[in-house]
């Protein structure tokens, strides 16, 4: 068996996912953030973007960055089934990104949300976009969610009033280490969608073009004095 053939056998079966349509959000600062699906060939830029955060323990950036690094590499190397990545870009510069996985027609598995530009609820918008894709586009009935940090717990578990299914372990378990699993059901999503999820579609050509080529941030509020 040729090496290439063996490698192909290692790949998971893939379900062709409905694409996530780009949208644009005017952040409180007035900056316009294009939210769109990342392409596999952009993995290098995404990895380069999150790599510096692997060494930042504050607010659990280290564990989120390192796990997201693995998820992106897994996506690039075809080692994760039905993964999708959504990115937020301001003038092309990556402001944040989210990773997630379509498990079945009924279930989504939220992986990670990483915010680079802080103070403008970029992470909140990208998380909402991820849920929008799972429940509105892919038609899943529920999404399993965990949090690495208290910030995540506040933003997702409390603000979305997620269902705590941790008592149903091991029947209900998130893929990320068997930690307590919370669930966004369709009913919960419909209750919060209008107050959590926004964005204008279609995105005009000029704005879309600004996010065509993703750019790694040149500064990180999490890393004072950072130079690329």
């Amino acid at each position: 068996m040729a090496i290439d053939e063996m490698e192909r056998k290692l790949r998971p079966p893939e379900i062709a996912l409905k694409p996530y349509l780009p949208k644009i959000i005017t952040l409180a600062s007035g900056e316009k953030m294009v939210v769109r699906e990342a392409r596999r060939e952009e993995t290098g830029t995404l990895l380069g973007t999150i790599y510096p955060l692997i060494g930042v323990p504050t607010d659990f950036y280290d564990i989120v960055a390192v796990r997201m690094y693995a998820e992106l590499l897994g996506w690039y190397r075809y080692r994760v089934a039905n993964e999708f990545v959504i990115v937020g870009a301001i003038d092309g510069v990556i402001a944040g990104l989210v990773t997630s996985r379509h498990v079945s027609s009924k279930l989504g598995m939220s992986l990670h949300t990483l915010t680079i530009k802080r103070g403008l609820r970029v992470g909140a918008q990208l998380f909402a976009a991820k849920m929008e894709h799972h429940l509105d586009d892919l038609g899943e009935e529920e999404v399993h969610i965990v949090a690495e940090s208290p910030n995540g717990f506040k933003r997702w578990m409390i603000e979305y009033q997620l269902e705590d299914r941790s008592s149903q372990f091991p029947d209900v378990r998130h893929e990320l280490g068997g930690v307590p699993t919370y669930v966004l059901t369709r009913k919960l999503w419909e209750a919060v969608r209008d107050i959590k999820c926004t964005g204008t579609r279609p995105v005009v050509e000029q704005d879309l073009k600004s996010a065509e080529k993703l750019i790694m941030p040149s500064e990180y509020p999490q890393i004072p004095g950072f130079k690329r």
Binding site: I25, T26, L27, A28, S29, G30, G119, L120, R121, Q125, P150, K154, I158, D194, I195, K196, C197, T198, G199, T200
Partner: protein, 401 residues
């Protein structure tokens, strides 16, 4: 009681998230900053009295006796130290007590420090902790919180005077613009009216906290400390200090009913009016003499309501002045040049001291470029405790060299 009390040193931490630090360390940072500003750090044991303003270290940090802790952290024993608590007006009350210590003749040099570390707990718990200052049976036990009061007050004001949510957003734009230039501000990001009020995504970007109050009409939960060094300018010790002092010209404070529903008109902030009147009387000035003001905008509506109660504007008209830019940094009467509680942040025990630090910076001409008020002579601060049931107003004056 009037005395010739000058502020000769100011200190401030950057407000924001200091939850990894001990409250005493946060206050010690600000106090050290103030002593360095006064060039008095080495002689700190000659200070006669330390007064600390703090609202709820027991609830937020499971910590008590923070005045003693601060003195020890500063290596200042055996200087006497006491704690003053008056809800979110604890800071200004600490200044008032410090002033009284000098005026009584018991002290010539007083260090006043205010501080709070609130972010060791979640925002919801912080809101709940702050709500414990409400009336236990009639308000707190019914589930009322300060944002809830802010929302109801805003709704009443809107119905009576025609204020709109967009007017509140204009206040946020103004205060964030100032805060973006303030090195001590928690939130140093400007915001635009399109993004938080006019644009198609505004309703989510600027979501409701307690309708009709939105996120950009509500202060953040902040940690931080601020400090002042007060000196009896008639004492021989005044010669220790080289910087031109800023004089505390007037202080007034007043209380109102603990239960908001017991007020004849829930839109009236009687304690604000009375505190301001006392401060004006003591300073020998009136509203027209004030060059700029720091008003307690824990919720944006309070900036408007307080500015009317202290006599800057006719009742129900302050928002029209905001529309015209009269309270902008280059307007007729700049309000919240620091960014206010909205952008600078609101570590409850520190706020009253922080407001006066801003008055001193402005009167010294030391504010950052783009937010320095032109030729100020008198600055006023209003620190608001409870939902207006215990208020302290201060007036600081420039001393010509």
């Amino acid at each position: 009681m009037t005395a010739n009390v000058g502020i000769v040193g100011i200190g401030h931490t950057r407000f924001g998230n200091s939850s990894e630090y001990d409250l005493a360390d946060v206050m010690a940072y600000a106090a050290t900053d103030a002593l360095q500003d006064a060039e008095f750090l080495e002689r700190r044991r000659e200070i006669d009295q330390v007064i600390v303003g703090n609202m709820a270290s027991g609830l937020f940090c499971h910590q008590s006796a923070v005045a003693s802790s601060l003195v020890s952290r500063m290596d200042m024993e055996p200087v006497p130290a006491e704690l003053v608590e008056n809800g979110p007006a604890s800071g200004a009350s600490a200044i008032k007590i410090g002033y009284m210590a000098v005026a009584s003749g018991m002290a010539d040099i007083v260090l006043v420090a205010g501080g709070e570390v609130m972010r060791k707990v979640s925002g919801w718990t912080a809101t709940e902790n702050v709500a414990t200052m409400l009336h236990t049976e009639a308000e707190y036990n019914m589930g009322l919180t300060l944002p809830a009061f802010g929302g109801m007050f805003t709704r009443l004001y809107m119905e009576k005077y025609g204020l709109t949510e967009r007017d509140l957003a204009l206040l946020a734009v103004k205060n964030h613009k100032n805060g973006a230039k303030n090195i001590y501000a928690h939130i140093q990001l400007p915001c635009t009216i399109e993004a938080i009020a006019d644009g198609p995504e505004a309703a989510v970007v600027n979501n409701y906290i307690a309708e009709p109050l939105r996120m950009y009409s509500t202060c953040p939960v902040s940690d931080g400390g601020a400090a002042l060094l007060l000196v009896n300018m008639d004492s021989p010790k005044a010669k220790y200090f080289k910087k031109q002092p800023v004089r505390i010209a007037g202080i007034g404070s007043a209380t109102d009913t603990h239960c908001v529903h017991n007020r004849k008109d829930p839109l009236r902030l009687e304690a604000v009016r009375l505190a301001a009147e006392k401060a004006y009387r003591m300073a020998g000035v009136g509203p027209a003499d004030i060059s700029f003001a720091e008003l307690h905008d824990a919720f944006s509506i309070l900036e408007l309501a307080i500015s009317e109660e202290v006599g800057f504007f006719e009742r129900g008209t302050s928002y029209l002045a905001v529309r015209k830019g009269e309270t902008d940094i280059d307007g007729r009467l700049p309000i919240n040049s620091s960014g206010g509680l909205k952008a600078k942040g609101h570590p409850v025990g520190a706020t009253g001291v922080s407001q006066v630090v801003e008055l001193v910076r402005q009167l010294r001409g030391e504010a950052e470029e783009g937010r320095q008020v032109k030729d100020p002579r008198y600055g006023m601060s209003v620190n608001f405790g409870g939902f207006g049931n215990n208020v302290v107003a201060l007036i600081c004056a420039k001393v010509e060299g």
